[in-house]
């Protein structure tokens, strides 16, 4: 089983889900409308028999400004979203996009093959594939 692991208190600044939301997902999921204006960054984590897939929405950040770290059974996505250059000499009429640094850590299952982890980035979406070790995958045994 996967669960969100957020050891750093200030990470909560960027976190959409409050403890109440996390504990009572069935109540909050009734509201199908998602206000992304106050959310950054959002992630999806999924697991199947072959591995774990993490999808993070990090628009506006070139991949050079994103850091991925595997450490002690956790995956940390961190980086910085820089304010655009043309924002400096202008009047701000509305600012909902968050700029600055962020960090998010996810607890991984034990059987991830850390040598085979891959990540790619396109259109503001970061996809990380974490395959499981061969030994951890279910095997079919044929009956003679």
């Amino acid at each position: 089983m996967l669960f969100r692991y957020e050891p750093i208190v200030f990470d909560e600044i960027f976190s959409r889900t409050s403890p109440a939301e996390w504990a009572l997902p069935e109540i909050f999921s009734q509201f199908n409308f998602v206000d992304r204006a106050n959310t950054y960054p959002t992630i999806n984590v999924a697991e199947d028999k072959d591995g774990v897939q993490v999808v993070a929405e990090i628009p506006g950040i070139p991949k050079e400004d994103v850091k991925l770290q595997l450490h002690g059974g956790t995956l940390t996505i961190s980086g910085e979203r820089k304010s655009p250059e043309d924002a400096k000499d202008s009047d701000v009429l509305r600012r909902e996009i968050r700029y600055g640094s962020f960090s998010r850590t996810i607890q991984l299952p034990e059987n991830i093959d850390t040598e085979k982890v891959t990540a790619d980035y396109a259109n503001g979406v970061l996809r990380i594939a974490l395959p499981k070790q061969e030994a951890a995958k279910p095997k079919e045994i044929s009956i003679r």
């Binding site: 409308f33 999806n44 929405e57």
Partner: protein
């Protein structure tokens, strides 16, 4: 430019005959420069072709359809379940030139540049 049209948020779902689309209200930045407005909209995961930005009368509508970020057969433990549609509307001030609008999509961010009409720009008057 600053006024946003508030739509009634019933539950965000729009049902047509075949599917329910989840509507996401994206985060936006709006800046005013001397001769233009710059609108930035966070639309991660969209293809350029699926993004639509258009002006009708004095309303700017931005929308984008996005596909499922996850393969459907994965057990999802997620915050963001897709498919979904990003959508937001803005009512434009009188000084916005609606004929020439630039839009560019890069790194999941749509940047729209709206120029101000010529007659609203500051003019320098030469003293004879």
């Amino acid at each position: 430019m600053t006024k946003e049209i508030e739509k009634p948020k019933v539950d965000g779902t729009e049902t047509n005959a075949t599917e329910t689309v989840r509507v996401i209200r994206p985060a936006v930045d709006i800046q005013e420069l001397a001769d233009s407005y710059v609108v930035r909209v966070d639309i991660p995961g969209a293809e350029k072709e699926s993004i639509a930005a258009h002006i009708s009368e004095s309303t700017l509508t931005v929308s984008a359809k996005v596909q499922d970020h996850l393969q459907r057969d994965w057990a999802i433990a997620s915050e963001t379940q897709l498919p979904a549609e990003y959508r937001r509307e803005f009512s434009l001030a009188d000084n916005v030139e609606t004929q020439s609008v630039d839009a560019a999509y890069e790194l999941g961010v749509l940047k729209i540049t709206l120029r101000k009409k010529q007659q609203f720009l500051p003019k320098e008057i030469k003293i004879a």
